[in-house]
Symmetry: C2
């Protein structure tokens, strides 16, 4: 062996300017970046140095014949990624179908196919159906950065979308994920646009209409900005995270379910967009219509009853606004061949007494048990909505639905159906006579005598969130007084339940600023000019 052929060992990787880009070894980086793919490269990585990447630029990663886009974070710590490694979050590895130790190739990413369409929207142009398909496909495939997502959401905010574009967006969102086909003529659903604490009618409507024999495969969301979503409240009673096959089996067997929609992969672009809409508090009519209807179409619904609450602190605050929103929903539903029945409801105050998962589950079970402590407003609203859905049946006469629903509830058939659904999804221990509420409490009292003339939905939701709902399921508010009730100074308006002292303290500070209640004269109670 000739001595000059022996090269000294190299401890630092170097790069020959003429070599082709090297492959890197994948390493799982256990940082939860939520809905955004992040790739971590060491600053001294030869590939990084050679390819002219820069922090936060988008890169394409290929492995196992698949590819994903990710934002690049540059790392100066070999304990996170070494020079020959490419760090990816768990979610990104899953998308790539790869695991720790696999090899991957990284390159500068071409912009997502639909970026041209996004730029045209930013420039104020109208987009066509193909543009929306391309954009939604890229969003659902996590090909947009948070910056691009925010740009899309703002550029389609307010009146930036005409109603035909809202239809295009709805169609594209419905097409982006899984689509259920129940092979039945009548698949019903109900939905509320949100904003009213305690409004847990779905958990009553589903067992009632399913007991009547209608097919109602209800999937719900968890709370986004509210103290509880239907999925959070149902989770107090039963398992809600059901694999696709189990969910369909339950629906076929029991004619209904109350499951979390997340695992069903319905309109997946919606979940990506919500992550941006939430921090911006954006909820424009176009985005709301596309979000709600795309999920219903994907869920295979043929008939939908839509609840639009109206009130001084509801999402919709005037009848003209409610009518405008109704017309947009109706236009898009018609284009999507969905039979839609919009009901404008009383959104002046929370529905029921409890606000927070356990407290709301208690109210729901009391209504189903025909318990004397059941909140009347929750019962009445659920019966009316269920009645409207029952009237979707060709054999039910208009106006008869309410009485049928009431019979089903009063006879205990709704409770029996609910128990079947709970058992099928996986029952959890719950006793509505002894609900597991947060042990730390605070009673908020009236500072004057009079009549309750206002309950601020937003402040009630805010205090309940601060108290820990929905993360702490037993946290929330128990309302002792509702609109029109007489109070004497010192009476308890509501009780706050919390699981942690710091949460109770946050809630206390908020209540001290504003209880959420207005007390005045009986004639100051605002009227509700709505159907029910």
């Amino acid at each position: 062996m000739r001595k000059d052929t022996v090269k000294p060992p190299r401890s630092v990787p170097t790069r020959d300017p003429d070599s082709t880009p090297s492959t890197l070894v994948l390493r799982r980086v256990l940082i939860d970046t939520y809905h955004e793919n992040v790739a971590y490269l060491h600053r001294d990585c030869a590939v990084y140095r050679a390819e002219g990447f820069r922090a936060l630029s988008k890169v394409e990663i290929r492995a196992n014949g698949r590819s994903i886009l990710a934002s690049l974070n540059v790392v100066d710590d070999s304990n996170i990624v070494a020079c020959d490694q490419l760090g990816l979050s768990k979610a990104a590895l899953t998308q790539l179908g790869a695991k720790n130790g696999d090899t991957a190739v990284i390159s500068q990413a071409e912009a997502p196919e639909s970026i041209g369409a996004l730029h045209r929207k930013l420039a104020g142009e109208r987009l066509n159906l193909d543009d929306f398909h391309a954009i939604v496909r890229d969003i659902a495939a996590h090909r947009y950065s948070k910056i691009e997502l925010a740009a899309f959401v703002v550029a389609t905010n307010r009146d930036e979308l005409d109603r035909e574009e809202v239809y295009f967006l709805t169609e594209a969102m419905a097409a982006s994920g899984r689509k259920f086909d129940w092979h039945e003529h009548l698949v019903i659903d109900k939905h509320c646009i949100g904003g009213i604490p305690g409004n847990r009618t779905s958990m009553l409507v589903v067992p009632i209409v399913a007991a009547h024999g209608l097919l109602c495969p209800k999937t719900s969301s968890r709370a986004i900005t509210s103290p509880a979503g239907t999925a959070d409240t149902m989770e107090v009673l039963a398992n809600v995270e059901l694999p696709f096959e189990q969910l369909t089996k339950i629906v076929r067997e029991h004619r209904g379910c109350l499951a979390w929609g997340g695992t069903a992969d319905l309109s997946p672009a919606d979940d990506v967009l919500i992550a941006v809409e939430r921090p911006l508090a954006l909820d424009s009519p176009g985005q709301m219509v596309a979000s709600i209807l795309s999920k219903k179409i994907a869920a295979g619904s043929t008939h939908l009853v839509l609840d639009i609450p109206i009130g001084p602190t509801a999402k919709v605050r005037s009848m003209p606004d409610a009518q405008r929103l109704r017309r947009l929903f109706e236009y898009v539903a018609k284009r999507m061949n969905l039979s839609l029945d919009v009901v404008i409801t009383d959104g002046r105050q929370p529905v029921g007494n409890g606000v927070g998962p356990v407290l709301e589950a208690r109210d729901v079970m009391r209504v189903l048990q025909n318990d004397s402590r059941a909140p009347v407003d929750l019962r009445q609203k659920a019966l009316r909505l269920a009645g409207r859905l029952i009237e979707c049946s060709p054999d039910v006469r208009g106006g008869d639905g309410f009485a049928i629903a009431r019979d089903i509830l009063d006879s205990g058939r709704a409770l029996a159906k609910m128990n079947d659904i709970i058992a099928a999804q996986g029952q959890k221990p719950f006793d509505h006579n002894d609900p597991q509420l947060g042990a730390l409490t605070l009673d908020v009292q009236a500072n004057q005598s009079g009549v309750v003339t206002g309950i601020d939905n937003l402040q009630i939701a805010h205090v309940a969130r601060l108290a820990g709902a929905p993360k702490v399921s037993g946290a929330g508010l128990d309302l002792f007084r509702k609109l029109g009730d007489c109070v004497t100074a010192g009476d308890t308006l509501y009780r706050v339940h919390a699981g942690f002292r710091s949460d109770l303290e946050f809630a206390r500070q908020a209540c001290t600023k504003h209880t959420g209640y207005t007390i005045g004269q009986a004639e100051d109670v605002p009227h509700a000019f709505v159907e029910f």
Copy 2:
């Protein structure tokens, strides 16, 4: 010692629900998150579990009497952060004035003060000066997330700002950082809105006007989307990252400088916004005016000559657009008491021959040396701009500026001034007869005979970027033919210089698709209806 007082050692930190939130130990996490503060908490951290944080929510971190906002990333790896630690990037630690091992308290962040104003803008409302001050203050203090930044940029895009709002934004941006006061009546500056490769007139104008005795404290940016910014090109000749004190000393001594603006802290909100505008390719008139004028005001300029190039592939493509942009600049400048002279220039093709830091530095030095190889168009444009600036002097008659500038250049006084400035900033070795160009080359040839009728600024910039400019300073394009030149099929149009084979390959692929040159008949060369 009684036995029952001895507690077993605990390996896993636990939390008493009734305890107050604990302090955490700061740990530097060496991940470069660019302009966004990120806080890393372990998922099992007692504070995280108790406080109801969620991934990507905003948190406030307090230490040493200071506080910052950050986005929260949740970590499942104790090697990155342990359960009792709070991880922060270097930039975040610096803002906090804290170091590894210091203690800090973390809490849910209140929304930045100006979020209400942002929401009003998103809802389409007009904002007032106080609103813009609040927003820009929060942006400069890194209190906005990338999502909020993107929302602001899109909501103020296109015609969303009226001209009074553009003035408010400019005023607020100028007020957000440092303000220079040179204590002189006449502080001049020049600026180009960008988009034309090779347009390095500042490096000629500054020595000419400084040699004439005018005060011209020129700070420039690095390339954002172009193959070279003035700071990148000047850096070939001299150090451009100057501490504030050194910069002011040089300006007072030599009447001019050519420094990078980044260390001067002028209009810091602008740098934060650019990080979002760049990936969205947004450059609306309002944002351009506020960005440029706020920096000039902060730099203490009293007189500005602004170059708006116009051409088929320039940022501004028609005379009506140029005039509209000019009027907006003039309106805001007047409100800011800045004397503004807008010149609309020929932007049909790149200026000079070189595109890329070293190649442009070569052209500049050849003009200063009165070398026969100096590009005539670069020399002429610089003389005309310098002439306009010289005419700001009260003792120079309108129309005399050009001749004065030419005398200064031809006599070698401009070169002598440039050499003084270079020496003061810190000279780097450079020989314009033997510039250190990228060793890998590619000659791009004409595929037909005729006359050059078009050179696409965007494609030329794109190819030069792919070839490695500005990161590889010797990379870029050397243009052998310009508009109106006759070519024979096979003639070299330009030479690509690169430092790495992969870069050359990217550039080759782009050139193969489109050279950037159009060859046709002499009468097809577009006319330039501009002043110069």
